[in-house]
């Protein structure tokens, strides 16, 4: 790190918000699988993530401690009886992003609890991956997530993906007071004990959402994945202000009243990159000459590679996340502790809202692990996830302009996202209105037997999933006045999503200034790693 030469510079090196000055270095932004190096206008405020919180020194000891001193219930060993039927539900690899270095924390939890089950005389144990309507994990991904020993012992009869389209695979437990159907995986519902092994990447995950969403079917998810719920979520990263979470919580509480559920929740810090890519974790002010060289080399390499090779390159680098908290027990008190830690890692206090908000869209999202970030997923990152990375007030003003950097290539993975293709090329040209799409087409694609078959036997997302992706951008779309895709390699993809496009970031900023004036306030949310703003004023 360079020595700060003034008090202002010292402030910049220790605070999360840096204001761009005349001599500030250019900023690094993701644009899909490329890295941009961009000079930003003087006065732009760049919001950086907090440094990674320190990881737990002994994760397995922390797991043992959590299950022996759980929140609001007896220790796990006291809940076990010989001959009982236990289902262990596990979060899928949609999280964390990028996938974490092995051993995955889920493997570590299983390595603690499976011997405990065995020692307690519990033999009827199934491991069910709570994929909900996500794609089935491949055999190799399943092996990587739990390690060879557990995989070999349980796969395929006792370690498998939840099947939301198995006609006999789910049971209706009942209906909440608000009329939401409570539908849960049959094996889980008919077990004496359901243990949920969770990995929380962002505050949206975990809690009641684990069982209520992960182990249900289309009808179950549909209860809260609607444009109406998303419009009333401010934001869905903040469960207290999220209509979607209010619905999920009602369903989850109903589940807890009818099933014995023991949650083991974990969360990780934001250490996404190390080794040759560690410079991506730094502020540009702190780059050493070697970092600058690495960046130049990386950009030169990426420039010469085709998109598929670039994807392979990035996807080959697992993240060195550290586990920062493990809690277990009843759903709500366990989740509350995890949320506290999650916000401690991600939340950066801000006291302003910008006219123009910029962020780079990376190559990965929860829905394209080992696949392509297609246009609909670019949209969900822009208007959904990144927009919702706030607590209190959004970082961009109502009617403000959102600038995202991504090539927005018209490319889809036909194996993972077949229904996305139909949604994007058949439905979106007809209407972008989420409520019309929901009313007119959602069920048609959800029940399309081709997509059902590809979900059940291949590795395709459910036919309804592209609708949910579009809804997840709904509060962002309602809030911002304009979205500009900077660096888009075509005009039609941004246009179909209702966006403008610009060849470069500076052109996009000029377009935004034409709307908001020369004195428009500009902010950059600097990813990676994850950062969320907190404006509670």
């Amino acid at each position: 790190m360079r020595d700060p030469k003034s008090l202002a510079r010292f402030y910049e090196t220790t605070e999360q918000i840096v204001t761009i000055d005349k001599d500030s270095p250019p900023r690094v932004l993701f644009s899909g699988e490329d890295l941009l190096l961009e000079d930003l206008p003087v006065g732009t405020r760049v919001i950086y993530p907090k440094p990674p919180l320190e990881g737990l020194p002994n994760v397995k000891a922390a797991i043992r401690s959590a299950i022996n001193r759980p929140e609001g219930c007896d220790p796990l060993h006291a809940l076990l009886k010989p001959g009982m039927r236990v289902t262990v539900a596990i979060d899928d690899i949609s999280l964390p992003l990028p996938p974490m270095r092995t051993p995955d924390v889920r493997q570590q939890v299983l390595e603690v609890i499976l011997p405990l089950l065995e020692e307690s005389g519990v033999e009827d144990v199934h491991l069910v991956i709570a994929i909900a309507l996500h794609r089935r994990m491949t055999e190799a991904e399943m092996r990587r997530m739990v390690g060879d020993r557990i995989f070999d012992a349980y796969y395929p009869d006792r370690y498998y993906n939840h099947d939301a389209e198995d006609p006999d695979g789910c049971v209706v437990l009942g209906t909440t007071a608000h009329g939401e159907k409570v539908i849960v995986n049959r094996r889980a519902a008919e077990s004496d004990l359901l243990i949920y092994v969770n990995l929380n990447l962002v505050p949206m995950d975990g809690g009641h959402k684990s069982v209520a969403t992960g182990l249900t079917n289309y009808e179950g998810v549909k209860a809260h994945h609607t444009p109406h719920h998303i419009r009333k979520s401010h934001s869905y990263m903040d469960p207290e202000r999220s209509e979607m979470h209010r619905s999920v919580d009602r369903i989850g509480r109903y589940v807890d009243e009818h099933l014995q559920v023991f949650h083991i929740e974990t969360t990780i810090n934001n250490r996404m990159f190390d080794g040759p890519l560690e410079f991506l974790m730094k502020r540009e002010e702190d780059y050493t000459e070697l970092d600058r060289l690495k960046l130049a080399g990386m950009r030169a390499t990426l420039k010469r590679l085709p998109p598929a090779a670039k994807r392979k390159l990035f996807q080959a680098v697992p993240a060195p996340y550290d586990v920062i908290a493990v809690h277990a027990g009843m759903t709500e008190p366990t989740h509350a502790k995890i949320l506290e830690k999650s916000w401690a890692q991600y939340a950066v206090d801000v006291d302003f809202q910008a006219d123009v908000l910029i962020y780079g869209i990376p190559y990965v999202s929860p829905y394209n692990v080992n696949s392509i970030l297609n246009p609909l997923l670019v949209q969900v990152m822009a208007c959904g996830y990144f927009f919702n990375f706030y607590r209190g007030k959004p970082l961009v003003k109502k009617g403000g302009t959102l600038i995202v950097t991504h090539p927005c290539s018209d490319a889809f993975d036909p194996e993972h996202h077949p229904s996305y293709i139909e949604f994007f090329h058949r439905l979106l040209p007809e209407t972008r209105d989420a409520q019309v799409l929901e009313a007119r087409y959602e069920r048609e694609l959800a029940e399309n037997p081709t997509y059902v078959h590809m979900y059940r036997t291949g590795h395709a997302y459910h036919g309804a999933h592209p609708f949910f992706m579009w809804y997840w951008g709904e509060n962002g779309r309602q809030h911002v006045g304009k979205v500009i895709a900077a660096g888009a390699d075509n005009a039609h993809v941004p246009r179909m999503m209702g966006w403008d496009h610009a060849e470069t970031l500076s052109e996009a900023i000029d377009m935004a200034r034409a709307i908001h004036g020369r004195s428009a306030s500009i902010a950059l949310l600097h990813h990676p790693p994850i950062v969320m703003t907190q404006n509670l004023g």
Partner: protein
């Protein structure tokens, strides 16, 4: 007038079962009732393979015409009787593991299940019943006084005629073609795929896979359960 109900049209060979019409024919050739008859018919079949291959390469319609001529002179009773054994010995074991599930999924979506095949109807009728199909569109052998003539009742169900037969079926049954589904493994079935609203390539050959990718049709497999 087209209705709002819909159908799922399935090609059979290569899509639902791993066999093709040659397997059925070979089965008949090898079950002629006498050793001499069997030897003669089997030898004819083997010797004709280059002819079949050439005809198939040139034109699927020509292939079917040439091929079905080999049934000439066989009694209807015998062909029907052997069809039962054909199903049990050849077709049933060849059903792809994913086939029952795919058919069940189309039924669950409210589709009428219709098999559309260039095979002769008596050879696939039991398969259609076994799979729970509602209807079968297949070629029909012309019989005169209970003996096969070797000519099928026109039009031959293949290629573009599959699409025409499906269109006629939808009109007759009050189904909406644009809401219907079609599944096939072969590029020769491009017309039957193109005529419906929701086509899909199943275990596609190279040419169909290329077309499916170009038109963004879903590609799925029945070869896995």
């Amino acid at each position: 007038m087209a209705g709002t109900e819909r159908a799922a049209f399935f090609d059979v060979d290569g899509t639902l079962v791993r066999t093709n019409i040659v397997h059925a024919f070979a089965f008949y050739a090898m079950n002629q009732g006498s050793i001499l008859g069997t030897a003669w018919q089997t030898a004819r079949t083997v010797l004709s393979v280059p002819l079949f291959a050439a005809a198939d390469r040139m034109n699927r319609k020509l292939f079917n015409e040439v091929f079905y001529r080999y049934y000439a002179g066989q009694s209807e009773d015998r062909l029907e009787t052997l069809a039962g054994e054909l199903f049990e010995d050849v077709l049933r074991p060849a059903i792809f593991p994913g086939t029952p599930r795919l058919i069940e999924e189309t039924r669950r979506a409210g589709c009428r299940v219709v098999l559309v095949t260039g095979a002769l109807d008596f050879t696939v009728r039991r398969l259609a019943e076994h799979l729970g199909a509602d209807d079968l569109i297949a070629n029909r052998m012309r019989f005169v006084q209970g003996v096969a003539t070797g000519r099928v009742v026109p039009p031959i169900i293949e290629g573009a005629h599959k699409a025409l037969a499906m269109r006629d079926y939808c009109v007759r049954e009050g189904l909406a073609l644009e809401k219907s589904f079609a599944y096939s493994d072969s590029f020769s079935d491009y017309p039957m795929l193109a005529v419906v609203g929701h086509p899909a390539a199943v275990n596609p050959d190279v040419r169909l896979a290329r077309v499916a990718r170009a038109y963004e049709w879903p590609i799925l497999r029945t070869t896995e359960a």
